[in-house]
Symmetry: none
Subunit: 308 residues, 2 copies
RNA sequence: AGACACCUUUUCCG
DNA sequence: CGGAAAAGGTGTCT
């Protein structure tokens, strides 16, 4: 305990880091770095040995982080080439210019490297994270059929989209048998359509006794059910873990009501990855969204009015 | 940007918070509180205005939290009776001892009460959650509020005090979410501290769009705003109605500057009347006032010199 | 910060 | 029509 404290005091206090005269953002960065440094050390210590004489609890989610997010736009081929620090400037050199080559970087060094060799690719991000280290995603591609499909299962694919988001949107549902449903609204969001696609699919399957394999490319929808996000929100009165209101409660409620009587597996599939049935849904949703004379999505309009 | 920095420097640097001699866990808590205060203020600022000259990113979800949970083990019947601060010690007195009576508490007072009367039960949870704690689900009994609290209101409690008045003083601010701020000076007055508590609370809430319910037990502060005393003094050049100078114009000016952008209700609560949040402020203010090495209240010293 | 989805613009190639 | 790249954004969650 005392040893930890002594180590903490080895850090120079903020006033020694030179931001008594705050002229530049760099000083601000040092202030933040100092605070994060202390919290980070405490966090590591508590995780390693959570119970010492004075028990202390410190909760820092892993996605706490800070970084300097200046962007450098390297234009290798354009009206004028070079490095620009704002997108409007860079866009002017590039937009409508045949054969333009450009890319953004977080450091000037990288941008210069790109200018010399336009095949240069991004290096690692310079973000500093405190808290639990993000789980390393080493495995490149997700395996195809590692999933056990039950015998006699009903295969359904769903997709939804909104042009402009928010904007006119549509949903598509395709069964392996070839049956399909679709619909759309003149103003809605992508996630509402993904959700509605699932609802329509399950409503069409009401009374089905065989197991159902429902495929969607939306993490929002799949996790909402498989990780029980939706049930947690409902229990808290449609509030998220941070206390702010969860979105689309009307649709989630409809979906939850459909679940008990069916044997469903929600399966996430990567979008635009060649799955023919997923592509079919996508096409269906898209073409519906582009149709004239679509009705209002009253649920979306209502939620929008409430938040405004 | 500069304004933010000036506000950050109003926080006493860590060396003023008394953890130069880290003998107890309480000092560690203050170190953490200091870091969280700075980060929280930066977070609010960035959220409000994410793009200034030096683009910077800081992500801290508000449910980051920390607390100090020292445990006291009261052994009423065992090999040796008394209070122990670690479970292995307490276990030795109790394990295999016929008819042992023991219980853990969070404060020494409660443990002592249990020793005298083993039927003593835990009082209301005294866990201090300071930081960005999730909103507490306090379903239960609210005091009969004759006041109409708006929906979604931010609840803030403030208190200030000076030992000896004038003398060393401190202020405390507690949000219903558990967040808290505190500070102190080596020579100041009770009203200056009450006033500063309110200022610190509102500065922390800069940019907040929800209605704010600010509770103080100082008639001076509440009436100063609700009955427009302060505005009247300012209009007359900081003179009271009888022509004599109004006190603490520096702080009143700071407070008036904060009002226009916020939707605040000033609510007077009776001090020391059992309101737990008010008590928490009181405690915070008092303990800060008793800390060694507090800085000067330059505003008070100046006004004293002028009048002398 | 990360993840998934949904888009808008520009360019290139079939 | 189909494929690719680059930049900008929103809708949602942890």
């Amino acid at each position: 305990m005392h040893k930890l404290f002594n180590r903490l005091f080895c850090l120079p206090p903020p006033c020694f880091l030179g931001y008594r005269a705050p002229e530049t953002g760099g000083n601000m960065l040092q202030l933040i770095r100092y605070c994060f440094n202390i919290l980070h050390r405490l966090h590591i210590y508590f995780k390693k040995q959570p119970n010492f004489d004075t028990q202390m609890f410190l909760y820092i989610p892993f996605f706490c982080s800070y970084s300097l997010t200046m962007k450098f736009y390297a234009v290798a081929r354009g009206r004028r080439t070079g490095i620009f620090t704002s997108w409007p400037d860079a866009e002017r050199q590039v937009k409508g210019f045949a054969g333009a080559r450009f890319k953004s970087f977080k450091t000037k060094q990288e941008a210069l490297a790109f200018l010399e060799d336009p095949s240069y690719t991004n290096s690692a991000s310079s973000t500093k994270n405190i808290g639990f280290a993000p789980p390393k995603k080493k495995s490149g591609h997700r395996q195809p059929a590692d999933y056990e499909y039950p015998e006699n299962a009903v295969m359904v694919y769903t997709d939804g989209g909104a042009i402009g988001n928010p904007g006119p949107g549509g949903y598509g549902v395709v069964f392996e048998t070839g049956e399909s449903f679709s619909g759309g609204f003149n103003l809605t969001t992508n996630n509402r359509m993904e959700l509605l696609a699932v609802i329509v699919a399950l409503e069409a399957l009401e009374g089905e006794t065989r197991p159902i394999c429902l495929h969607s490319d939306s993490r929002y929808v799949v996790n909402g059910i498989t990780k029980n996000w939706a049930k947690a929100w409902k229990r808290r009165g449609w509030k998220k873990s941070d206390g702010t209101p969860a979105m689309n409660p009307d649709l989630w409620q409809r979906l939850l009501d459909l679940l008990p009587d069916l044997d469903i597996r929600f399966i996430w599939v990567k979008g635009h990855a060649g799955n023919p049935l997923n592509e079919a849904c996508d096409h269906l949703a898209n073409s519906t969204a582009r149709m004239p004379g679509l009705p209002d999505d009253t649920g979306y309009l209502k939620s929008r009015k409430n938040s405004a």
